[in-house]
């Protein structure tokens, strides 16, 4: 491989990777947030909602830095909304439909409980919208 070709790959590879990360970041972040939310106990979540606790503050500082580093290449974060999160949860539930995997079944149970809470409670969905705004502002810093 000639050095010129390597230089060209370096020149064009960096923006390509950046655009690839930018295009795939929503999916990565969606999986990350769902994983976080799915791991939260529902009663605990109800307490967070009632006490208006920030979700971002629950994340460790190291992980916050990693998340910021992950989303540093994402300029447009307008897609990060409560509606987008709800849609992501619904899609995840539909994908887990009919699965015999015990882990996936457990995940489905948690997600169903979580999503039904957000669907039925106005306060919960308002809290989620607030959290998305906070997370978006934190990631933009």
């Amino acid at each position: 491989m000639s050095p010129n070709l390597l230089d060209k790959i370096k020149v064009y590879g960096s923006p390509f990777m950046k655009s690839l990360v930018s295009a795939g970041a929503p999916s990565v972040l969606r999986g990350l947030i769902i994983e976080y939310l799915g791991d939260i106990d529902i009663q605990l979540l109800q307490g967070y909602v009632e006490s208006d606790t920030s979700l971002w503050s629950l994340i460790d500082i190291d992980n916050q830095a990693k998340l910021k580093n992950l989303c540093s290449n994402i300029k447009d974060k307008t897609w990060l909304t409560a509606e987008w999160l709800m849609d992501s949860g619904q899609q995840r539930i539909s994908r887990l439909q009919g699965s015999d995997n015990p882990q996936k079944m457990r995940e489905k149970l948690k997600l169903c409980a979580l999503m039904s809470y957000f669907i039925g409670s106005r306060k919960a969905i308002a809290w989620l919208e607030k959290q998305t705004v906070i997370i978006k502002s934190e990631l933009s810093q």
Binding site: G24, L32, E35, I42, K66, R95, P102, A113, G120, S121
Partner: protein
């Protein structure tokens, strides 16, 4: 005797006072008559002499026949030359000439007949044209009058009166079958023309209907073809969309899994932690038909969790939840707080 005949033929003299010319003419005619009378007398005498001579010869001949030893009279009669072929040819020429004259006369007559018929057709056409023009003008005038009358007077009775005045005109135009009145109605030729026009109109109408049916069939065929093409395109687009969605989901799933893995790694405080064995969750009951909706009774500000009546998946009820909705199947259950009156209906 002959003199008397001539006198009878020429008539009696009339002694009337006439002019000199007439007298002279009378004299001349009288002299001429005398001359003719004299000539007649001479001829009569000659005739008598010949008759006597012939009688004498006849008597002599009878004497001869009575006496065979007497002389015999011989002679011949010249009948002249008679050429049959010439006579026939001449007769044929005359006949041909006569036939030619008759043919010419026939041609001339035919020409006259054709010209007369042409003139008659033109006259008839002009007459029909005049008739139609007058009828049209009359109809237009009547319509205008009726329209003006309808504008000025909105009374329905007057409108019907106007309609009655128009009706005969329309009948003349052939728009309705009116009984033919020989005194006032159109002539037979006009009726035949109108009938022919009706037949032509009916035929044109039939052809139009036929063409319309063909056009309708063609339009239906084209519409069906378009619909099939559209459905084919729609199906094609749908397939493409589904394929694109599947690709995106495939990519998204992969990236989401990465994200979930990152999240899981971030949560785990102990890197490379052990996997704890956990008991699988209870298998949900098979989906049953949607049960009857029964409201959930709860206290004010009370929160909790129930199983979906439809799919048995968990439904979390918040402190302010009014309608509990299953995130899995969408089953909705109203939540009634204890101090709230139960909604009717």
């Amino acid at each position: 005797m002959a003199t008397k005949e001539w006198i009878a033929a020429l008539g009696q003299r009339r002694d009337t006072s006439k002019s000199t010319d007439s007298l002279l003419a009378d004299k001349v005619s009288e002299r001429e008559r005398k001359r003719i009378e004299q000539q007649e007398e001479v001829e009569e005498l000659k005739h008598k002499a010949e008759v006597a001579k012939l009688k004498e010869e006849a008597s002599k001949a009878e004497i001869k026949t009575d006496n065979p030893s007497g002389f015999q009279v011989k002679g011949s009669i010249d009948m002249g030359n008679f050429n049959i072929m010439e006579e026939r040819k001449r007769a044929e020429d005359m006949a041909n000439e006569a036939i030619g004259r008759v043919e010419e006369e026939k041609k001339a007559l035919e020409t006259r007949v054709v010209e007369t018929e042409k003139k008659y057709s033109e006259m008839r056409y002009e007459a029909l044209k005049d008739l139609f023009t007058k009828t049209n003008e009359e109809l237009t005038r009547k319509i205008e009058e009726t329209r003006k009358g309808a504008n000025n007077d909105s009374d329905i009775a007057s409108l019907f009166t106007k309609l009655e005045t128009i009706t005969p005109v329309l009948e003349k135009m052939g728009y309705s079958k009116a009984p033919a009145t020989p005194s006032s109605g159109p002539s037979e030729q006009v009726l035949i023309m109108l009938k022919k026009m009706d037949i032509d109109n009916a035929r044109a109408e039939r052809e139009f209907q036929w063409k319309m049916r063909i056009d309708d069939k063609e339009a239906a065929r084209l519409a069906k073809k378009d619909e099939m093409e559209m459905s084919y395109k729609a199906q094609e687009l749908k397939d493409k969309k589904e394929a694109a969605l599947a690709n995106r989901n495939m990519l998204g799933d992969g990236l989401e899994t990465i994200g979930r893995a990152i999240g899981s790694a971030m949560k785990d405080a102990t890197p490379g932690g052990e996997i704890e064995e956990q008991a699988p969750p209870p298998r949900p009951a098979p989906r049953q038909p949607a049960p009857k909706v029964k409201p959930i009774l709860a206290g004010v500000g009370e929160a909790g969790q129930i199983a979906c009546p439809s799919c048995q998946e968990p439904i979390v009820i918040g402190a302010d939840t009014e309608v509990a909705t299953c995130a899995n199947c969408g089953f909705k259950t109203p939540v009634i707080r204890e101090n709230e009156p139960e909604p009717t209906g």
